[in-house]
Each structure stands twice: as C-alpha cells, then as structure tokens.
C-alpha cells in the first residue's frame, strides 16, 4: 500500500537527510519515489540550474529505490496535491523543517495546505521516529502506532493502512466527552469497549501487540498525551470534513498535527 511515495523537495534539500528518509520509507514498504519540485511563478530560482535534483535522485537510487523527478508550477500545495493524484502515489511524505538548532514540531503553511488539500494520505514526519544514523536502519519491529478513532466514517478509512503499517505495537485510542448522566455514561462505555475489542481482534494479525483504551476529555489533548506516554512513532488519523467555523482540516486533527512530536499519518 505504501509502494509509491511522493516527496516534495525544494532547493537546499540536504542529501544526507534524504538518504535517511529513503531508508525509513523503504522500511515502510516503499519501492518507488517521486521527487516533486514546484517552481513558483515569482521565484528567484525560476530558470536556475536544477542539477541538485539529479543528485538527490542518485542518492535514493543508491538505496535501491526507483526514483523519478517531476517538476510543477503555480500554487505549491495545490500542485503537489494534484501531482500526487496524477502520479498515482500511495502517500505524500513531508518532513518538518529545522529552525535554527531546534527541531520544531510546528508546521509551515505549505504543509498545512497539503494536509488540507491532498486526496492521498500524507505522512508528516516529525520528531519521532528518529531518522537513522549513517549506516543505521529503522525496522518495523520497533514501530509504535497510535490509532486515534471516534468510529465515525473518517476514522474507519485508515484501517486498511493500519494493517499495512504492521509493527511492534498498535494502540487504539478513543477520546470523547463525558455523557450527561452516569447511566448513559455506563452504556456508552460498554458500547465503545465492545467496538474497541472488535477492532483489536481485527488488527491483531498485523502487530506484535494490540491494545486499546478509552479516555474522557478533549480529543486532541488526549491523543497528544497518550502519544507521549507510549512514545508513539506514528499517530494514524482520519481527516474529517471540516465544519463551517472549524479549522480547515477539522479542529482535532489540526491541533494534533500542529503539536505532536510523533509523526502523523493523515488519511483523507
């Protein structure tokens, strides 16, 4: 399912870092990479030498990946989202950028736009999992996945991807507001427990360990808290259709994507 990945690249991309990224993507099952560069209409680098793209391509090829380079223009996020569809990729990979010496967990406006516009899943690589050192490798055996679900339609869509991630541990988390009275609360708790157990059974063949938990509180805070508690590498989320007044990709997803230290796999 993660066979072909689109990586948006820009001038100044560091080859060593791309090598590490290639390793991670290979460990997730990627065989083919599409390096995609967008040249903005008013950019100073328009028409300049793009041989740096060839260097990046060679580095990934050395790892054994099939690599193709594509160029686009106009609005960056829209071009990337459109290219992802045209190239038939399985996911878009984005790495959060360094700011000075701090590895920021914040996203830039382009990344946010891609998350909002993309019709294919987006993997936003943040602090966790750490990029492997030179010569090191990342294996799925260490991977800890946190799957945040509210059992709505948007939350069901990531399940096939979850089965493909495989890994050491998948923790299923459901965070909700408290019901209005103790009786309704008890019924809801039991109903959700049954659903979580069924999901555990469904995912058990794909992970060394599958657990589940239901929490009461603010969904975004709950997911971020549990993610840090279990040192999750990737948080898997479904992207909801935003309400009229809410944040562009849905209030909860927006907050998790912005503040998480774990990587995010957002399924549209």
């Amino acid at each position: 399912m993660f066979e072909k990945t689109l990586i948006p690249v820009s001038y100044g991309e560091r080859p060593e870092e791309l090598r590490k990224i290639g390793k991670i993507l290979m460990s997730l099952g990627s065989k083919s990479i599409c390096l995609y560069h967008v040249i903005e209409a008013g950019s100073l680098f328009r028409g300049s030498d793009i041989s740096w793209l060839t260097i990046l391509q060679e580095i990934l090829k050395e790892l054994g990946l099939e690599v193709e380079v594509r160029l686009g223009s106009d609005h960056i996020a829209s071009a990337i989202a459109e290219a992802a569809l045209q190239e038939g990729v399985d996911e878009i990979y984005m790495r959060t950028k360094r700011h000075w010496h701090l590895r920021t967990v914040l996203l830039g406006s382009v990344s946010r736009d891609i998350l909002r516009l993309s019709d294919v899943p987006v993997l936003v690589h943040k602090v966790r999992p750490k990029l492997p050192d030179v010569g090191g490798v990342i294996t799925r055996d260490d991977l800890i996945i946190l799957y945040a679900t509210d059992f709505a339609e948007a939350s069901v869509r990531p399940i096939p991807y979850l089965m493909d991630f495989k890994g050491a541990w998948c923790h299923i988390l459901h965070v909700r507001g408290r019901m209005a009275d103790p009786f309704a609360e008890e019924i809801e708790k039991r109903r959700l427990q049954e659903k979580l157990m069924a999901l555990e059974v469904e995912l058990r063949p794909y992970y060394g360990r599958v657990t589940s938990e239901q929490k009461i509180g603010d969904p975004a805070s709950g997911v971020l808290h549990v993610s840090d508690q279990i040192s999750a590498d990737i948080i898997v989320l479904g992207r909801k259709k935003p309400a009229f007044f809410s944040a562009p990709m849905g209030e909860t997803a927006e907050r998790i994507v912005t503040s998480s230290r774990a990587s995010i796999f957002l399924v549209p």
Binding site: M179, D181, P182, A184, E185
Partner: protein, 500 residues
Amino acid sequence: MWNEYLKRESVFLLSAGVILFFIALGIFNPALLELVSSTIHAGILDYFSWLYLISAFFFLLFSVSIALSRFGTIKLGYDAERPQYSFFGWVAMLFAAGMGIGLIFWGVSEPLLHFLQPPPFLEPYSPEAAAFAMRYAFFHWGIHPWAIYTIVSLSIAYFSFRRGMPALISSCFYPVLGDRIYGMAGKLVDVLAVFATVFGTATSLGFGALQIHAGFTHLYGLSSAISVTIGIIVIATVLFMASAILGVEKGVQLLSKINIIIATVLLLFILMLGSTPYILNIFTSTFGGYINNLIDLSFQSYPFAGYEWSRDWTVFYWAWWISWSPFVGLFIARISRGRTIREFVLTVLSVPTLFTFIWFSVFGGSALYLELEKGVDLASVAGEDVSLALFAFFEHYPLSGLLSLIVILLLIVFFVTSADSATVVLGSLTSGGSMIVPMYKKVIWGLSLSTVAIVLLLTGGLDALQMMAITAAFPFMIVMVILCYTLWIGLSQEKDRMEE
C-alpha cells in the same frame, strides 16, 4: 459511622458552618463583618460589575436560542408525561416564586427613585427622567431576571426529570465533573447554591420586614425602631417555621394562588381609579422604548457619567436575581415537569414579564401621574424612606387604610410562603436532593434565614442587604455559566442520539 455521617452530610455541615460563622461574626463583631463584606463587595463591583451585565444578557440569549433550536421539542420529563399543573396554576406559581415581595416593595418606589435621583446626565423631576425611570423599572424587572431563573430551572429540570439524577445543582455538573459530583467539587457547587439562596432570600425577607414595619408605622403610628422590624421577622419566622415543619404544602399553594388573585384585584383597582388612559399610554410607550433599547440597556454601564447609578441599581438587581435563582430555579423546575423546553422557556420569559410590566405601569405610572400632573410630591417620600412610598401613594386613593392593610397582608403571606419554600429547598439541597427533609434541618435553615436577615439589618440596613446579595451571587454567576455549557452538552447528546 461518624465518618459516614460526615461524608453524607458534608454539604449541610459545610454550608451551615459558613452561615453560622457569618451570624456569629455579625453578633459578636459587627464592625469586622461590615469591613469584610464591604471590602469583598467593593472588590466585586470595582472589577466585575461589567461581568454581571454581560452574563445576564448571555443567559437571555442562551435561553431564547435553546427554546428556538432543535432542542425546543425535548420534554422536561419522559416523553409520555403530561404537565402536572394547569397553565394558569403554573403561571401563578411561577410569578409568586419569582417576584413576590420585591414587586410590592419596588412597584411604586423604584420608578419614583429613578425620577428623583436619575443618573447625572438627566434632570431630576423632568419628563425625561420619568421616561427613563419607567424604562429602567421595566428593564430591571423584565425579561433578564426570568432568563436567569430559566438557566437554573431548565438545567435542574432537564438533569433530574430527563436524566434521572437528584434535583441538585451539582447533578447538572456531571458532564464536566463525572463522578466527582459526589466528591468535594460537587459538594462545593451545592454549598455555593445554599450560600446564594440564604443571602438572596434573607435580602428579600429583609425588604419584606422593612415594608411591613413601614406599613404598620404609617397606619398605626408604630415606633420606627429597628427592634420592631426584628420583632416582625421573629413573628413571621414562627409562622413560616410552623408551616414548613407541619408540611402544609397544599395550604401554601392555596395561599400563593389567593395572593396572586388579591394582587390582581389590587392592580385592577388602581388601574380603574387612577388615570387609566395615562397608565395605558405609559405602558405602551415604555414597552416600545424597552424593546427598542433592549441591547443598549443590557450592556449600558454608563462609564462616563452614571457609573455609580448603574452599579447601585442594575448590578444590584442582576446579583439579586442570581442569588435567588437556586431557590426559584428549583421551585420552578419542580412545577414544570411534563412541559417541553420551548413551552417552558417562552412562557417563563414572556407571561410573568408581561404581568410585571403591567404592574409597574399601573403602580409606578400612577405614582408618576400624581407627581407630574397633580403636583403630589411622592418622590421625596420614597427618597426619605423607600419602604414608605407605597403607603403614601395609597393615600391618594379611596379606602387607603384598607388598601394598606391588604398590602401588609400580601407581604406577610409572601414572606411566609417564600421563607417556607426557601426552608424546604435549602433542606432538600443539603439532603442530597431528597424532598423528605429531616425536621432539624428545616429548623436550622428557617432560623438561619431569619437570623441572617436580622444581622444584615442590624449591621447596615438596606445597604447591607444589597451588599450581601451581590457578594453571594458572584460565585454562583460562574456556576450558572457552566450550567449553560453542561445543559448544551446534555441536550446535544440527546438530540444526536435521537437523530442517529
């Protein structure tokens, strides 16, 4: 066993302890009590008077939104339940619980006082001051107080009748506190409700006693010493305690209905014998002005001129209604079982409000008619002794002695029924929401209400009463904002489930 008792009765012990401490301080060191309460009061007014205005408008907006939204069809009770009381009986009880003594006390004197002492930007005794006086009387006694009551009563009614929880304020906090409503946090919410009820009711009882005293002084030349007011409170206490202990609930209901009928007859009497077209014009004009200026009135604190006036009147009233709201809210909730949210909110907001407008137009309007058209100086009487204005007003009507006696009787009955209901509500609030209240609790709460009223009158009279109402209401105002949130959660969950 002792531990279990402490745990079970913690709301009662904690709230009774706080009230007892307050009473002891008032008896043994009134100067310190005055210093403490006036400092807190000044602090609240200096920093948060604006919050009372915003909150009251928010409560109004929230109530109307709930009524007109998809939640309006939800019934306060099980789906097949029918209302327990007839529409007239229900509205009569709403009115008696919500206003009662206050309306008689302020009906004549409030418009006169605004006419005599308007904010600095208006000329006293001017026609502009008269229009301003009537508009503000409508505003202070209009739709906002009922919106405040609606929030508390709707929350209690929904969570107890629809969700099967005890009739306690803390029950409404389940969506945010969960099982902690049975712990310290929930108990603190109930203690705040008890605290607000005791001081809110004591304020009303103080007003009632002052006016009964003024009536007797006016009619029979009774001494105006404070000891006589205290004597009146003691006698009324014996009456309402007997009523509460004997459990003459049906008798109290009957008295409430009789009171409303007498009040209506009195109203019609003044309307017929006064200048009827003048009164009806005042009603029409003030009603239009009120509707036209509702938003401005709601947020107007006159920061550049008249700030003191706004604090002394509007903020006091909002605080007073908030401090009454746990008691009135519980009572209104109890009598509203079986009605839909839309019917409940729209009736509570409109019918008693309209009756109040008519009351103020008739009494306040007639008093202003005497002032402006007949040259009778009633305003200065109100300025000297606010509780005397009504009796001075009656002197310009036939059978003034009888009218004064009827009003005194009305006040006594309102006093007894209000204090009786408050005693039962306080007992219920401190007994886990149960309606079977042990006798010792009824005695303690009945005595507490009267003693607090006496202590407040002894330490500072009318000002002290107003000060304590504002202070006690402040924490409960925050409780009410949270009630709006939890009610919204409860209703949303129910509707979502139904739509699924």
